[in-house]
């Protein structure tokens, strides 16, 4: 059943008891709710935003970026039904075996669970993301024999919009009560602070109510989950789940670095985008992070390639001078696999100095806004420069292309141009030890027995591929764990 909290706000408390209360309706929240309901559990599903986008709701995500400029504090996520699935691009990949190894050079422990444990629900996750049967394995390309790189494996989801796909199911569900416009504003613990007693919800019009369930799950994304935990500081001044001070720390992105440009020497090889991912052996040998180096050819007259203007000219003049048509068409219709740009999606190491904290500004709900200090360190710079240089060398060695590297790749005195991919991860990282993380192997908040977090915020490391598939896999794993308890 679906309810507007603004109209049915009394009903949310009256309908208790629920087995689970889940906050957030992105891929993590909806997947967990559906799976728990399918196992017979009663679920209260809450969304702070509306059924569709509104400026008033989205504005609550506004915050400050200090340190490295981060453009996606507000725009990188969406605050309404379906969450960030409403604007993701659909690229799905699985983490590599090395991503689950304890890499000492990262300075923090890695995943406390195995790749096999994470991938256990892969077929079901593929169905959810509408990529059934896709082969996601990285693969060797006969045209690119390299010990350092293989072709990155991935599949493209349509992309699945969770709200569109599951609205009817939620409407008809007898086990899920879904309230939108229900903003989480506080988390109340028992006197021993070892379990959650209730959540406080507030509408933008000021309606407020407390809700209770046997267990609680936050699925709000890496920035908002940390913000809510830090704001819930009435009983514990450091915030909920933050005894070791790890809430908000190790904020990670996939580094988006414009590595350079290339010219092809083997045009047949570049009929499509080439995505290279480093081999595990190369990563071990160099002690660097994972990632993908993209070679994107400027492939059409409409592209931004340097032949664009010439092609446009030929196309237009061919109409005035029919004798030129044949020649011009040959040039204009030619699908140029020529010059292109080299971009990247690179893993950032978990760095406690890179963090989400609270600013002094307060939003309409009375919660302190987020302050994001995105930092990267020398290890990240080494990852960027090593992968960029090696990719350029391999392209030259195999005579597929020649790469001109950006000046900041070659000159270590220059600041590297780094952007993000709006892949926000790691602020409530998973660790078997509380001093290195916020949740344990089962996504339970350390020290709080009935409180769980799901989503990319629990990633201990970010891997070298897009995060949504792994978010869904972890949600399936959590739901399976909780449904058998």
């Amino acid at each position: 059943m679906i309810f507007d909290f603004n109209e049915a706000w009394t009903r949310v408390a009256a309908a208790a008891p629920y087995d689970f209360c889940i906050c957030g309706t992105g891929p993590a929240g909806i997947t967990t709710a559906r799976k728990l309901a399918a196992s017979g559990k009663r679920v209260l599903l809450l969304e702070g935003g509306d059924l569709s986008y509104s400026e008033e709701s989205q504005e609550l995500y506004d915050g400050k970026s200090v340190g490295r400029k981060y453009w996606h504090v507000q725009s990188g996520r969406l605050r309404y039904f379906g969450g960030t699935s409403n604007h993701w691009t659909g690229r799905c990949g699985v983490f590599d075996p090395i991503d689950f190894e304890d890499r000492r050079y990262f300075g923090m422990p890695g995943w406390p669970i195995s790749r096999e444990q994470v991938l256990a629900g892969l077929d079901e996750a593929k169905d959810i993301l509408d990529i059934p049967g896709s082969d996601l394995s990285p693969h060797e390309d006969p045209g690119f024999r390299s010990t350092a790189f293989v072709q990155s494996g991935f599949a493209l989801s349509p992309p699945t919009r969770f709200a569109e796909k599951y609205e009817a199911e939620l409407k008809q569900s007898e086990r899920i009560d879904f309230f939108y416009n229900a903003n989480l504003v506080d988390i109340r613990l028992d006197s021993a602070q070892t379990s959650v007693e209730s959540l406080s919800l507030r509408s933008l019009s000021g309606r407020e109510v407390k809700v209770s369930a046997r267990r609680y799950i936050l699925a709000l994304g890496a920035i908002e989950t940390a913000r809510l935990l830090l704001n819930a500081n009435k009983q514990a001044t450091e915030g909920v789940g933050n005894r070791s001070g790890m809430v908000g720390r190790c904020f990670m992105e996939h580094l988006n670095v414009p590595i350079g440009r290339f010219v092809v020497t083997a045009p047949d090889f570049f009929r499509k985008e080439i995505s290279l991912t480093p081999t595990d052996a190369f990563l071990r040998q160099n002690d660097i992070g994972n990632g993908i180096v993209h070679f994107e050819p400027n492939s059409s007259p409409q592209s931004s390639g340097r032949l664009r203007i010439l092609k446009q000219f030929l196309r237009e003049t061919s109409c005035l001078h029919p004798g030129l048509t044949k020649i011009a068409r040959e040039a204009v219709d030619f699908d140029c696999p020529g010059d292109g740009t080299v971009t990247s999606l690179l893993e950032q190491v978990p760095n406690p100095a890179s963090r989400v904290s609270l600013s002094r500004d307060v939003d309409k709900l009375g919660l302190r806004r987020v302050e994001l200090d995105w930092e990267f360190n020398d290890q990240d710079k080494r990852t960027i420069r090593t992968l960029a240089m090696k990719a350029a060398q391999e392209m030259a060695r195999l005579d597929r292309a020649r790469v001109q590297l950006a000046r900041f790749i070659l000159n270590k005195d220059l600041d590297i141009e780094i952007g993000g991919h709006a892949h926000q991860m790691g602020t409530t990282r998973m660790s078997s030890k509380p001093e290195f993380g916020v949740v344990n192997e089962n996504c339970q908040v350390h020290g709080i027995g009935n409180f769980y977090i799901i989503g990319s915020s629990v990633f201990p490391t970010g891997g070298g591929t897009n995060p949504t598939l792994t978010i869904v896999l972890l949600a399936l794993r959590l739901a399976k764990h909780l449904s058998t308890e």
Binding site: V263, C336, Q393, A396, R407
Partner: protein, 69 residues
């Protein structure tokens, strides 16, 4: 067209290789190393104006030059 494109790109690389040969041989003295943009970065490779070339690219250029001139 593909062949033409490949040839165009190869002559571009040959031009780079000319500069690279001069740099590596040090014959002009004009190609000072500027922050790695012209350097012998590692075994088998040389960087010319930021372009990563193989030694083979340079050797081909030298052969080309001897033959041509």
């Amino acid at each position: 067209m593909l062949r033409a494109l490949g040839q165009t790109r190869r002559s571009f690389i040959q031009k780079l290789a000319t500069a690279g040969s001069l740099f590596v041989l040090g014959s002009t003295g004009a190609e000072a190393e500027t922050a790695g943009e012209n350097s012998r970065c590692c075994e088998g490779f040389v960087i010319v104006h930021g372009w990563v070339l193989t030694d083979k690219d340079l050797r081909h250029q030298q052969e080309f030059s001897l033959h041509d001139f």
